[in-house]
């Protein structure tokens, strides 16, 4: 399991102006299989997501950034 900068995830969520609820709804729509509580825990670093789950959360945040005119700023697990 790769190291993810998990507190960075919550900062990105806030920069993207998403509540935890908003983020979960987007994550769910993208096919995520973790609960809202788990997604929140991923953000805080209280739970370590696997790469796949991490990337689904990141993508949910990045799609929001994309709507705000930015180009997928949060790195995925397979970004070098």
């Amino acid at each position: 399991m790769a190291e993810h900068a998990t507190d960075a995830l919550d900062r990105a969520r806030m920069d993207a102006k998403l509540t935890h609820g908003d983020l979960f709804l987007r994550y769910f729509e993208l096919g995520g299989m973790s609960s809202a509580l788990q997604v929140e825990a991923f953000c805080y670093g209280a739970l370590e997501p696997n790469d796949h789950d991490h990337d689904v959360v990141v993508h949910a945040i990045n799609e929001r950034f994309s709507e705000m005119g930015q180009n997928h700023p949060v790195p995925y697990s397979d970004d070098s």
Binding site: L25, F28, G31, M33, A36, L37, D55, H59
Partner: protein, 373 residues
Amino acid sequence: MTATSKLEPLVGFEVAVRYVGERVVVAVRGEVDFETVPHLSGVVNAVIDRRPSTVVLDLGGASFVGAGGLGIIATGAGRLVSDGGQMVVRRPSRLLRRMMQITGLSKVVSIERSAEIVRHLGGEQASFDIEAPVVATVESAVLSYQLRKMMAFPADTDVLDGALRLVVALAQLVVQRADGVSISLSRHGRLVTVAATDQTVSSMDAGQYESGQGPCVDAAANGRWFYAESLSEESRWPDFTPKALDLGINAILSTPLLTQDGPVGAINMYSRTIEAFADRDHEIASTFATEASLILSYAGVGASEDDLAARLAESLRVREVIALAQGIVMARETLNAEEAYATLRRFAVSQDRTFAELAADVVASTRPQAQGE
């Protein structure tokens, strides 16, 4: 040589028809889902129009058969039987067999299960070779993928209840020894049953709420699963256990539903069989609990009451399209589910499109008139 027609309207989905005297073999490869059902239905109906004595629907190559596939079998069998013919379903998955049993279809349709039979009848096997069929197993990963596909349904006023009812129905289909399944939810500080497969199950739930005892009550309160493997030897719930035994129930497995607010209820599986639920069933139960919890999480987050039905239906629809696209990429590129997902995601990012848009395009690309990807 017998006449063979082969139609390829959808990438990854094929139907081959072979006429052998009075028998017709219709072999399917790929997924029988909402995209492909109309096509398969058209083929089967056209075949039945020619009044064969027997139609053999070979599903050995079908990686997924949803409710629509069941509908084709039911309709086809009905038409054939009323004309004095019969339908044979060859090599259905275990899940499909179970669905056919529960719906009573197995009484009017013959089932050929083993590959032996197919080899034995080699000459009439339809034209493409089907190697080791991708049988719909109940491994949890596959199951959750199938679940996501089955969970998509049209928006209606009772989307939330409908979704939960579907969860209990599917759980009962998949867990062979579950004689009944229910979902209990805590509402205003009290547990209520929001979905149940039958009345006995509702009574069992009610008995636990009244006595304040039982695996369902404990799972909902403590957020972990409780398993009573043999109620006659059970000492944890003395007020409740006799009621369950009176109703013929011998084993109960309750798995908690967890949302952002903590445990909010439980999914309960009841069986007449002692020690009915194996480790694997625990895993399956938690897959269903996850799906139910996700739906409840969704209902509890953000959306207002008015908004919820439409929004949930839309999200379930997007989830299904993404699952479908994932399945298509898995089949095309021989990738596992997560690799396929990452491939789609990288593609979406590089094209600056949303995942949902890209997934919809991938699904559309399997239509015959589409121009590549």
